[in-house]
């Protein structure tokens, strides 16, 4: 089966600092892949490179066919406009006319339970509401692949639960690909089918979730083992 996404020898370098070293990875349609690792391990850089907002220094990122992607960032940027228009903008940029975009935007806001705030200014929302709005914007374009960069790391426990509930609902209803980075290992266990462990821009483990969390890794993947024990930061 042809993978939906294939990375071959991807290198990303910022000046003298090499953020990603020769990354090779394949992802099949419908897989839910979690990227874990300490801060600075290259998780966000990898997601941004896959999404195409960060140019790679060398290597290839190959998507099989036209794959509609959407990305939710750790701290979503809110434009100084209404919540509904904020979502509609993403749809308008996809080629919809403005009135259709606004209609579809309202439906997407329903999915994240923000319909009552449709006319509020997006900048005035709380952190949790802003993250839900970012999800609404991503869901509105019906992505075949969703990329999430630590989507709940800057939220309080209540907002975290709400955002995770949206993610789980979306996973249950859609057999789409999910690529996400997280420091929350409980969340990784709940959402991912596969875990990729990164350290200093290199992939040091790439295992099914069950195996990553429940099988001894001290000999096969010692770095990942130390990370799980909290001894690798």
């Amino acid at each position: 089966m042809t993978p939906q996404l294939k990375l071959q020898g991807v290198v990303v370098q910022f000046g003298q600092h090499r953020a990603l070293h020769q990354i090779d990875i394949s992802v099949h349609a419908g897989e839910r892949v979690a990227f874990v690792g300490a801060n600075g391990s290259g998780k966000s850089t990898l997601l941004r490179a896959i999404h195409g907002v960060l140019p790679v220094t060398s290597g290839h990122i190959h998507w099989h066919g036209q794959v509609q992607q959407a990305m939710v960032f750790q701290r979503p940027y809110m434009l100084r406009t209404s919540v509904r228009n904020f979502v509609a903008l993403a749809l308008w940029l996809q080629g919809n006319n403005w009135s259709t975009s606004k209609e579809k935007a309202f439906n997407a806001l329903h999915q994240v339970n923000l319909q009552d705030l449709a006319d509020r200014n997006a900048k005035t929302l709380s952190g949790g509401q802003q993250q839900r709005l970012a999800f609404a914007r991503a869901l509105a374009v019906h992505p075949q692949c969703m990329l999430l960069d630590e989507p709940t790391s800057s939220l309080d426990p209540h907002a975290k639960r709400e955002v995770e509930r949206i993610m789980q609902d979306w996973i249950a209803d859609n057999a789409t690909t999910l690529l996400f980075s997280s420091h929350n290992l409980g969340q990784v266990k709940r959402l991912a089918t596969r875990v990729v462990y990164l350290e200093s821009g290199r992939i040091l483990a790439d295992l099914p979730t069950e195996q990553f969390f429940h099988q001894p890794l001290e000999h096969s993947h010692p770095e990942a083992h130390l990370f799980l024990r909290g001894e690798r930061v």
């Binding site: 941004r48 999404h51 907002v53 960060l54 959407a70 990305m71 960032f73 979503p76 940027y77 434009l79 100084r80 406009t81 209404s82 509904r84 228009n85 903008l89 993403a90 940029l93 996809q94 403005w98 006319d119 509020r120 200014n121 900048k123 005035t124 914007r137």
Partner: protein, 269 residues
């Protein structure tokens, strides 16, 4: 070879023989009263000069803002060979002396110049052109910095939505619009306070191209310091009133943003 003869002057002698205008403290108070008198008596000469100054500087600010914001926003998101040189040049132009601008515009508009056929020299149009040239680098450089900073922080997220560099720069300009009010006010301040460029291309013709700054320069040279100071106070008052107006508009918009965005929504539609 003739020896170079350098005349020797003693500053004390000069002070004795020349009737240099001195300004005691009482003159400051006098000029304040003169300014108030000019304002309260609604002196037509004063208000004509004020209106002419505002007309020239507002047009110059409007023209340079349109071009400066477009150019600055484009420069912020564009990447091309020689960009660094262009940025250095633009930042250098921030220190452009106004008389140099006046001279260049004068040469362009003089009868033998490339724009001589327009017949604008010693007219208000020439003054608007000179001030626009003077103020353009201020608007462009500040816009470039503002949009580039915003793009560094948020550009990826807009790119992620599918916005190309052109749309991205406009979305960022739109989103940072309150900062642009400050940039425009800075540009207006630079325009209305300059004297060199409008003096050279306008000629300071009474009743035609005399504006507040050139009038102040003239009255100072004539020794009528109270009148010059009075005009200066009026100039400051005009700028103060405009700044208060812009601050009020900005604060009202921010309040509206906080409460609801219905007004801004209409702008989107």
């Amino acid at each position: 070879m003739n020896a170079l003869v350098v005349p020797r002057y003693d500053i004390q002698e000069l002070l004795l023989f020349e009737e240099l205008p001195l300004l005691p403290m009482s003159s400051l108070i006098d000029s304040l009263f003169a300014a108030l008198e000019l304002i309260t008596q609604q002196d037509p000469m004063l208000w004509t000069v004020v209106a002419r100054s505002l007309w020239v500087s507002l047009w110059a600010t409007a023209i340079s803002s349109v071009f400066g914001i477009c150019f600055g926003a484009w420069l912020a998101v564009s990447r091309f060979d020689g960009r660094a040189v262009l940025l250095t040049l633009l930042n250098t132009l921030l220190a452009l002396p106004s008389v140099v601008v006046g001279l260049v515009v004068y040469l362009l508009l003089s009868r033998s110049g490339p724009l001589g056929h327009l017949g604008w020299l010693f007219s208000l149009k020439a003054m608007v052109l000179a001030q626009s040239v003077l103020v353009f680098p201020v608007v462009a450089a500040l816009t470039r910095q503002c949009v580039e900073d915003a793009d560094r922080l948020h550009g990826e997220q807009l790119q992620s939505l599918g916005a190309g560099s052109g749309l991205r720069s406009w979305l960022l300009v739109w989103d940072e619009r309150y900062v642009f009010l400050t940039i425009v006010i800075t540009a207006f301040g630079r325009a209305i306070s300059e004297v060199g460029a409008v003096m050279v291309v306008g000629g300071n013709i009474e009743g035609f191209t005399r504006v507040m700054t050139t009038a102040i320069a003239l009255e100072t040279s004539k020794g009528d310091l109270p009148l010059a100071l009075a005009l200066g106070l009026v100039l400051l008052a005009v700028v103060l009133v405009l700044n208060i107006g812009v601050a009020a508009v900005k604060s009202w918009c921010l309040r509206m943003d906080g409460a609801a965005s219905n007004t801004l929504q209409k702008v989107w539609v």
